[in-house]
């Protein structure tokens, strides 16, 4: 039958779907994903290679001792590790509540006309160069902190041991505050995106039960979004650990471990930035490389711990109270 033949013929003319294009696409994306992994491995390897002599000479002592004496060629990284961890924790303590509250305001409460301008403004904060923020820190923030909030903290919270000793202005606390300002925009905008992705149906479910706006935010929005918000915090922590320029300008750059947050400190990133040009001996340079390796390790470790915590958050959901 000619009609049937014609149809069969037409069918044959359609080229089969190209398996090649599909495969090529798969390989291309795989190659790009692998490139990122490779880059991370290369950075780690390069840092390890650059510090091999220091690693051999000091071994574990590098991480556990506090002497940093380039003249005597004695290098211990503990004060820097301490400084990086403490300043980042201070930053998170300040930035996380502020950022999440801001994100809640921007997605749940603010009048529509104010949302976009406010969001843009917060994102502009991220665009301020680190060194400019550092200058502002030195000339505006530090004198202010020294004159008002620090004496206040000393007077009322001095008993805790965290706010004692002489007030110089430059301090671990000032470093933490400047990092907080720097990570605030990223945590806010990621949190905002996460809160925006909460389905409206969830909010409506809570409203329909007679919940107030705060109750809706609590039971429908925050509990739905908590894993994503935690991810935003981890992202902020990653940034905080590596912040360099502005911190260097306000933290005081003294390698010491002090209980008081008014005492100057030093971070891993700051010591590399400050001393790289002065590193005249091979061992000094290698020690700085090893500092870099430690910072690299801490950042990866923080992310890993974050991933693990995220997993427990997932499994515990469904059993936590309303």
């Amino acid at each position: 039958m000619p009609a049937v033949e014609g149809r069969a013929h037409a069918k044959l003319e359609v080229p089969p779907p190209s398996r090649f294009a599909d495969k090529a696409f798969e390989w291309l994306t795989l190659a790009m994903a692998l490139a990122v992994v490779l880059l991370v491995i290369l950075v780690g390897w390069q840092l390890a290679r650059g510090s091999s002599a220091a690693i051999q000479k000091f071994g574990f002592h590098f991480l556990a001792t506090s002497t940093w004496d380039p003249v005597a060629e004695q290098f211990g990284a503990l004060p820097f590790i301490y400084g990086t961890v403490v300043s980042s924790l201070i930053a998170l303590l300040i930035a996380v509540p502020l950022s999440i509250a801001t994100a809640i305001y921007l997605t749940e409460l603010a009048p529509l006309w104010i949302r976009q301008p406010l969001t843009s403004l917060i994102e502009m904060l991220a665009a301020i160069p680190s060194v400019i923020l550092g200058l502002w820190g030195i000339f505006v923030m530090i004198p202010f902190l020294r004159d008002y909030p620090f004496p206040f903290l000393k007077k009322y919270l001095g008993w805790s041991g965290l706010f004692t000793g002489p007030i110089y202005g430059v301090s671990m606390l000032a470093g933490g505050i400047i990092i907080a300002i720097m990570i605030l925009p990223i945590i806010t905008s990621v949190s905002r995106e996460i809160l925006r992705s909460v389905p409206n149906l969830q909010r409506e479910a809570a409203y329909a039960l007679g919940a107030t706006r705060w109750e809706v935010t609590r039971i429908a929005v925050l509990s739905y979004a908590k894993r994503g918000l935690f991810g935003a915090v981890i992202l902020g922590l990653g940034r905080a650990l590596g912040e360099t320029m502005a911190v260097t300008m306000v933290i005081g750059n003294t390698p010491q471990i002090a209980t008081s947050l008014f005492a100057p400190g030093y971070t891993l990133a700051s010591v590399i930035a400050n001393e790289f040009t002065e590193a005249t001996t091979d061992l000094y340079l290698e020690a700085l490389f090893e500092i870099g390796l430690v910072l690299f390790g801490i950042t990866i470790l923080a992310n890993l711990i974050g991933q693990l915590l995220l997993r427990t958050l997932k499994t515990s959901s469904g059993t936590r109270g309303a």
Binding site: L112, P199, N200, L201, Q202, R203, E204, A205, A206, Y207, A208, L209, G210, A211, T212, E215, I219, A220, S223, Y224, K226, S317, G318, T319, R320, G321, A322
Partner: protein, 284 residues
């Protein structure tokens, strides 16, 4: 059912006197001619677009009222006005009056959260809270109201799940996540959640549109069982569903109320030409 007669919007013995304890249902005799809602000249705008045009309708108490009509006819908008849910959409504007047992829903000082505690709602897609267990989902409304007594909570948990015809299926899995059960069960969980706060009215916005025929049949059966204790308003674009479950049916078309009457009458002997065209499948 006695309320099947078309009653006019005469103010009832209940009007003006808010029943302070929604937990004590009035007897059928008291409410035989009562209207839960008396809607007068209601118009609603979304920005410039008028979604509801000058609708007046009385919704009888302790009966099932179905609202049918093609997509975009304003039926969802309309029931969302009955518990002020439409206010969550920015730039909405309401004109006219809605009396709930004689009391103005939109009166200054009337709290939308209080309205919603008395007028519960079930949505098109089931929406249990994903981070909560089945039990927590049912009890969340009570906890919001400050109920802490474990015995009261347990009683209400079982009662609500039984009313939602879900108890036998989940009684051994109360601690499991609310999302771990099937779609039809999730929708009944949402009904249990709405019933747990003991509302007087249950609004259902196309509650079966995302469900398979078996789950749909279960929900319909459940709706019929709830009829004796609650005033139910159900939006559906399934006409068979409306004719199966409801006592009264309202037909909406492009924001207007075309016809409202006894369900059997509306489907068998529609008064309006448009209603007849719609129910016989000539459009929509």
């Amino acid at each position: 059912m006695a309320v099947n007669t078309m009653s006019s919007s005469t103010p009832t013995s209940q009007s003006g006197a808010m029943n302070p304890t929604p937990t004590s249902p009035a007897t059928a005799a008291e409410l035989v001619t009562a209207n839960a809602f008396a809607v007068k000249d209601l118009s609603i705008w979304y920005g410039e677009k008028q979604a509801i045009k000058n609708i007046s309708i009385d919704i009888p108490v302790m009966a099932i009222t179905a609202i049918i009509g093609p997509s975009g006819c304003g039926k969802s908008t309309f029931i969302r006005c009955l518990n002020r849910m439409h206010e969550l959409v920015p730039r909405t504007r309401v004109e006219g009056k809605i009396l709930f047992h004689g009391e103005d829903l939109y009166a200054a000082g009337s709290d939308p959260a209080m309205v919603r505690r008395r007028v519960g709602m079930v949505f098109q897609k089931s929406n249990p809270f994903p981070t909560m267990s089945i039990e927590e989902n049912v009890l969340v409304g009570l906890r919001l109201n400050g109920v802490r007594n474990r015995q009261v909570l347990n009683e209400r948990l079982e009662k609500s799940l039984r009313r939602a015809a879900l108890w036998d299926e989940v009684k051994n899995d109360l601690k499991k996540p609310g999302m771990s059960i099937s779609g039809g069960q999730q929708q009944r969980l949402c009904i249990a959640r709405a019933l747990a706060v003991e509302p007087e009215v249950l609004l259902m916005d196309e509650p079966c549109s995302a469900l398979d025929p078996i789950a749909t049949a279960k929900i319909e059966e459940l709706i019929r069982e709830l009829r004796d204790q609650y005033t139910i308003v159900i939006v559906t674009h399934n006409m068979q569903q409306a004719s199966r479950v409801s006592d009264r049916t309202a037909f909406f078309y492009v924001g207007e109320l075309i016809e409202f009457g006894d369900t059997a009458q509306l489907f068998n002997r529609p008064r309006e030409r448009q209603t007849e065209d719609y129910i016989t499948g000539r459009f929509g």
